[in-house]
Amino acid sequence: MSQNVDAIVVGGGIHGCSTALHLCLAGMKPVLIEKDYAGRHASGVNAGGVRQLARHVPEIPLSIRSMGIWEKITDLLDDDCSFESYGQVLVAENEEELAVCRARVAELNALGFTHEELIDATELRRLVPAVAETCPGGVVSRRDGAANPAQTTTAFRRKAEQLGATVREGVAAGNIRQSGGLWHVDVGTETFAAPVLVNAAGAWAGNIAAALGEPVPVETVAPMLMITSRVPHFIDPVVILRGRKLSFKQFSNGTVLIGGGHLATPYQDRNETVLDWKSLAISARTVFELFPVMRSATIVRAWAGIEAKMKDDIPVFGPSSRHKGLYHQFGFSLHGFQLGPGAGAVMAELIVNGGTQTRVGDLGIDRFHPSTL
C-alpha cells in the first residue's frame, strides 16, 4: 500500500530540507527521505559561508534571492542558525590579481549586479587588519557572512517537520519509479506515492538522475576543512583568496575555520573520507604567510564532507527534461550552502506555480539534454 503525499523529496541536506519546508509553506504535504540523518554530509559539515561573493553569473540571481531569506532566517526557522553578517572579502595578493578583481566587478556592474565592490589596500586593511601588508586590495560583498551549517540544516529539517512534512531518516529511498502519473519510492517497508519527486540527494543525486535516464557529468568530491583552537579575536569578515585556495573564518568563540577546496578522497559507499594532509599543509602554509597571528594556533580537527561537483561547476536546478513531475536540485559544486534557503523557495514556486520570478534558466538539466517533453 502506497501512502499518498503531495511531493517526495529525496535527500536531507539543506536543499532537500529547504524545499520540503517551502512546500509546506505553500500548503503541500511532502515526505522528506534521508538515508542517514539531515545534515550528515556536506550540508552539515561545510564551511558555513553565506556568500554572494565570487559566484558564477548564472547562479547570482538565486544567490541574491537566498540572501534575502538569510537576513530574516530567524523569522523563517525560529532559529538564528548562528548567522552573522560581517561581509566576505576576496583578497588580491598582488596587482595582477587586483586587475582581475577590477574586471570582474566591472562585468557584474554591467550586468546590473552591485553586491561586489572593489576595495583598495586601505579599505582591505580596515576590514581585515591582520592581513599581510603586501596585499593591494580586493573585493568585498558587505551583506555576506557565515552561519553554522549543522545548526542551519537541522533547523530547516525541524521546521519542515513542524509544518507538516513527514521525515524519514536512516533509510535510503529505493526503487524510484513512475506509474499512473505518480512517483513511487520505497523507504524500508513503506512506499510513498506523489505526483512530484525532487532529487536533492547531493553526492547520490547523479545516480538517481542517471537511473531515470538523465545522466550528467558529475563527480563526487570531498572538500577538506580544519578548525583551530580558540585564538584572541582578530577578524570579522570571511576571507577568501583570489589566487590561492583558501577560505578563512573566525567564529565568535575564537576558533578559526580554514578551508578553500583542497580535496580528500571520498569513499562514498562507506560514508567515509580519507584526508590528504599534504594538501592541508598547503592551506596551513598559506595561513602562516598571510596571518602571522595564527602561527601558534593549534589544529584541533580536520574533516571533509561528501558532495557532488558538476563539470561546469554550476548546479543542476529545475524540472527534468524527460519526466513530468521530476525536479532536480543537486550538483552545487562546493558552493551550495548559501543557496539552500533561496533554492528551496524557488523550487517550491516551480512545483506549485509552474514558474518563478527568479532567473534560474541557465541551471537546468536541459543544458546537458535537449528537451523531449
Partner: protein, 472 residues
C-alpha cells in the same frame, strides 16, 4: 634529543609502548621485520609501567612486583632491532595505513604494511557535581606523578570510586608516605551478588590474593566508607568539601584533594579516526573495537592489542601484543613465523591471563548515577555543557552525539570527546530510551591530538606533493 624515523616505510609500526606495544614490537623485530615503535611518553612502559626505566622510586616493594615486570619487557625490546621513538605523538592514521606523527615539534608521514595499535586505556569519566573544580583530579593523574616523580599528596586527601587501580594507588601512596584521609567506595552492593557466579575463576586467578592483601593493607591505615551512593565536590573556585551519602546518611568532609576513579576504558580515538568498527560493550560499558582472534580490526592491516582492544589488564596486554605481532609475521614473513611461539600456546596464555576478568568487570561495573549525571553537572568540560543542556537538545531533536554537536558543540573541543564521549552516549541513550549501540559515538577526526598550524605548515613538500594537489 629528537630523532626522526629512519625510514619512510616499515613492515610494522606499533603505536604505544605499554605492555602490549613493548611485546608486539619485540616479537615483530625479533622475527626480522622492520619495526618502528612510536610512543608519546618520555620513556617506555605506558601507564602501568610508567617511568619503568627512570623512576626515582628504588624500593621495589613500594610500587609492587607487578610493576617491575615491565623492566624485562623493556630489556627484550632493547635487545631486538626495533626502532623506538619516544615523545612521538601519532596524530593521524587512515585506512591506507598512512601515519602522521609529531616528534619534537616536527611532523613526518610514514607508511606501514601492518599497524599494531597499542594505545591502551583511559580513565572513565566521573561526572559528579564539582568534578571540574581545581583540587579534583583523576587517580591516574595522581599515579603518574607518583611513578615519575615520587610525588604523593600531603594535604587532606579523599579517594573516591572503585576498581583495582583505586586500591593499588591507595597502597602506593601510603607506602611512599602520602596522606589519605578517607576512601569512599562507590561499588554497588548489588554488584557483589551479580559477580558471585564468576567468583570461582577469580579465586583461582593471580588477581585474587594480590587484590585481597592490598585492600587489607589499605584498610588497616585508612577509614574506608563502603556503599557510597551519592558524591559531590564543592568549593569556591577550589575544592573545599566532599559530600557523600552512604547507608542513607549524608556526610560532608573538608578536603584539599579529591582523587576520582571508576575504572578504565579503551582509548579508542586513533582507532575510530582510522575508521575501525567499534561496538558497545554492555559489561564494560564502553566502546570496544570489533576484532578477530588475532586482534585484526575491520580495517585491513590494522590490529589492536592491549587494553585498547577491550580492558584485560597488563598480563593479557602482553599476550595480545605477541598474538598481534605473530599474526603480522605470519602475513609478511610466513617462513619465520614457524619459529615463533605457536598461536595455540599464545591463545592459551591469553585465556589464563584473562581469568577472573568477568568477575572484576561485574563487581566494578560503575553505578548509573556516577556515569549519567543530571541537572547542572558538567558533561563536556571543553565547551562547558551540562547534563540539562544535553537533555534540552534531545528534547528539540538531537538524536545522537554527532547531531548534538549542531546544538551544543559537545566533543568539538581539544579533548575530542575523551572526557565526555561515554557520558554523552549514555545520557542520550537514557533520554531517548535507546541502547548505547543505537545512539552511537562521535565521529572522530584527525588530528587525534592537536598540532600547531606552524608545525603543519612546516611539513616538507616534495615535487610529487605539489603535483598531487593540482588535481584538486
Amino acid at each position: 634529543m629528537t630523532v626522526a624515523p629512519k625510514r619512510e616505510a616499515y613492515d610494522v609500526v606499533v603505536i604505544g609502548a605499554g605492555p602490549a606495544g613493548l611485546a608486539a614490537a619485540a616479537t615483530s623485530a625479533e622475527a626480522g621485520l622492520s619495526t618502528l615503535l612510536l610512543d608519546e611518553n618520555i620513556g617506555p612502559g605506558g601507564q602501568v609501567f610508567r617511568a619503568i626505566s627512570s623512576t626515582p622510586v628504588t624500593d621495589r616493594n613500594q610500587l609492587g612486583a607487578d610493576y617491575w615486570v615491565g623492566a624485562d619487557l623493556v630489556q627484550s625490546l632493547r635487545a631486538s632491532r626495533a626502532e623506538i621513538i619516544h615523545r612521538a605523538t601519532v596524530w593521524s592514521l587512515d585506512r591506507n595505513l598512512e601515519i602522521a606523527v609529531s616528534i619534537g615539534g616536527a611532523s613526518a608521514f610514514l607508511k606501514a604494511q601492518r599497524v599494531i595499535l597499542a594505545t591502551g586505556a583511559l580513565e572513565r569519566p566521573f561526572p559528579i557535581p564539582g568534578w571540574t573544580l581545581p583540587g579534583v583530579m583523576t587517580a591516574g593523574a595522581a599515579q603518574t606523578m607518583l611513578k615519575s616523580s615520587a610525588l604523593v599528596p600531603d594535604g587532606r586527601t579523599v579517594i573516591a570510586g572503585q576498581g583495582p587501580l583505586l586500591w593499588l594507588l591507595a597502597a602506593q601512596i601510603l607506602r611512599l608516605g602520602g596522606r589519605i584521609d578517607r576512601i569512599l567506595d562507590t561499588t554497588e552492593r548489588g554488584n557483589y551478588f551479580a559477580a558471585l557466579p564468576h567468583a570461582f575463576a577469580f579465586l583461582t586467578s593471580p588477581y585474587f590474593t594480590k587484590g585481597l592483601s592490598m585492600m587489607r593493607e589499605v584498610k588497616a591505615k585508612v577509614q574506608v566508607v563502603s556503599g557510597v551512593t551519592e558524591l559531590s565536590a564543592s568549593g569556591d573556585g577550589q575544592l573545599a568539601n566532599v559530600s557523600y551519602v552512604a547507608g542513607g546518611k549524608r556526610e560532608t568532609i573538608p578536603a584539599d584533594l579529591l582523587l576520582l576513579h571508576q575504572g578504565v576504558v579503551p582509548n579508542v580515538n586513533l582507532a575510530m579516526a582510522a575508521g575501525i568498527e567499534h561496538r558497545w560493550d554492555d559489561l564494560q560499558l564502553c566502546w570496544s573495537p570489533v576484532l578477530d582472534a588475532s586482534g585484526n580490526s575491520s580495517v585491513a592491516g590494522i590490529a589492536i592489542a592491549g587494553d585498547g582492544a577491550g580492558i584485560g589488564g597488563a598480563n593479557a596486554a602482553v599476550v595480545r601484543g605477541r598474538i598481534a605481532a605473530r599474526a603480522a609475521v605470519e602475513a609478511l614473513a610466513p617462513a619465520v613465523a614457524t619459529k615463533l611461539a605457536p598461536m595455540a600456546t599464545l591463545r592459551a596464555d591469553l585465556a589464563k591471563a584473562e581469568r577472573g576478568r568477568v568477575f572484576l568487570d561485574t563487581l566494578f561495573r560503575p553505578a548509573p548515577q556516577f556515569r549519567i549525571p543530571t541537572g547542572d553537572t558538567i558533561v563536556c568540560r571543553c565547551e562547558e555543557v551540562t547534563a540539562k543542556d544535553v537533555l534540552d537538545a534531545v528534547a528539540i531533536g538531537a538524536t545522537g552525539p554527532n547531531q548534538l554537536k549542531a546544538y551544543r558543540r559537545t566533543g568539538m573541543g581539544p579533548c575530542q570527546g575523551r572526557l565526555c564521549g561515554l557520558t554523552v552516549t549514555e545520557l542520550m541513550a537514557q533520554a531517548r530510551g535507546k541502547t548505547a549501540q543505537e545512539i552511537g559515538y562521535y565521529r572522530l577526526r584527525a588530528p587525534v591530538k592537536p598540532i600547531t598550524l606552524a608545525e603543519l605548515a612546516a611539513v616538507p613538500k616534495s615535487e610529487a606533493d605539489v603535483k598531487a594537489v593540482v588535481r584538486g
